[in-house]
Amino acid sequence: MTEPVLSVRNLRVEFASRRGTLRAIDDVSFDIAKGEVLGVVGESGAGKSVTGLAVIGLIDPPGRIAGGEIHLAGLRIDDLPPEEMRRIRGKRIGMIFQDPLTSLNPLYRVGDQIIETIRTHLNLSETAARRRAIDLLAEVGIPAPEKRIDGYPHEFSGGMRQRVVIALAICAEPELIIADEPTTALDVSVQAQIISLIKRLGRDHGTAVMLVTHDMGVIAETSDRVAVMYAGRVAEIGPVQDVVKNPLHPYAKGLMGAIPTLAGDDKRLMQIPGSMPRLSAIPRGCSFNPRCAFAFDRCRVDRPEPLPRGAQSVACHLYDDVPAESAA
């Protein structure tokens, strides 16, 4: 098997606060292969965005990576000096943020922002960079790019701005794109366009994509694999069809049950009672146990470790005694 583009091993991110250290990410591991789209889902505060920021090295104090390793195509990047990490950001890892309205500097023409980024990472002349910027804008589907390149961000609509943001993220042909809720701030009609754009770019360039979202529909449509996060841990990870059709973790079951279908059956949508624990009050044992309908004694004492079950991997004591082979 070829080396994954991104490999995260036992990642732990902590935030120092007045009331002690909060663990936002706890023992998270996953891989993304070349050309693969990994969806990362979970409720707000589950640690999805922090995972993305940790990978690109933008965790700001008081937060810090407290343990684990992050490898980008074999190169360990979580302990690089800041200057070397900066060279990787934008060049080898591109990032797309949630709100396209605030992601662009309002005082600079979009072209200047793209050209600036291109010239930071690639050794190109001003004119060559400008030509590349026009090509990029065309590639992300902005009409009349040679004219729009001299526009200011406020002259673009939300969807168009997100396209510019995507152009900025891919301008140095990164191996990995981290898309942090790229469609949340957009109209539903525009969401689909942006999602298919990200998917197409990933396919055309063989780019690995880490797609962070809380929208299961987006994940089902785009991702090859999906990681379900809960309270800073990966509850379940596996191929998207398996996880959507046959979720193993009770939390994943709850999430999938909460997706409305167009089939028109009158079943009530499932809901998971309660809410995710605060980082300062994560329960002992499995962090999901207070909300879990299947919780038993062991769940309240031991923390479940991720165990492979077929193509999936699940961190739940329900699957402890079943041998991995006989599953699925």
Binding site: R86, R89, G90, N105, A169
Partner: protein, 326 residues
Amino acid sequence: MLAFTLRRAVQAVGVMFAVGIIAFSMFRFAGDPVNQIVSIDTPAAEREAVRKSLGLDDPVPVQFVRYFGDAAQFKFGVSYQFRQPVSALLMERMPATLELAICATVFAMVFGILMGVYSALKRDTVLAKLFQAVSLIGISLPTFLIGILLIYLFAVTLGWLPSFGRGEVVKLGWWSTGLLTLSGLKALIMPSITLGLFQMTLIMRLVRAEMLEVLRTDYIRFARARGLTTRAIHFGHALKNTLIPVITVAGLQFGSVIAFSIITETVFQWPGMGLLFVQAVQNVDIPIMAAYLLMVSLIFVTINLVVDILYTVVDPRLRATVGRAT
């Protein structure tokens, strides 16, 4: 853009008209001008002659129109104490005040922005905290006290700088400048610092606060995610966004620098318009006071106009809304 500028210009004229009314009414409130011109034992007939020659027997509106018309041509009458046209006196004094005000503003801008940026970027260093402490002093100490302390230290104790006056000046046409001689430059240092210190601390605190605010924005985070150099992020992306409010404040402050120069000019016996005004107040020289009022308002209004236009130059979003609104 043109329509916007024109509209602001019309508003400016309106403001000047209102100030003109106030300046004009100063003559009425300060008693009978004739009494201030003639001596106590002047016969009544002679007083009437003076009154007539000055046009003071005309109806008030006529007088006002005449005053305003003259003022628009920079004719402000004759000073009671100097027996010279006020406009000539002002013109003679203006270069001194403007040079002082410009030097003070440049000083305030350069040091204010540098210190502000530094204390925002290196928030936790000793120097940044020192700047904060010093700025508190600058903002709370009264101007005259700073001036006197500077004089005591650098003029009296150390003897490095002159304690008063402009030094040698060079005439360039009607403009007299102290920038071309060593003594003129030396004489400029302390008054500029005294006058500019308050603005400097103001700008410094403003730049610091704005910069910290801007550094938290999404586009700065995105700029970092794009791998731009720290330099490009701080001095390209962040500083430009920081400077928008700074331009406004610094611009508007330029007006108050000129107005506040009254105190600094008095402390340093600086031969500018402010000193002239203080002397005029002491001698109830109404024409000078009224003219000074008009001049300072004109400067204020002009600066406001320039700042508004500058704003649209820096911020493209404003350009668009202005264009749409007109």
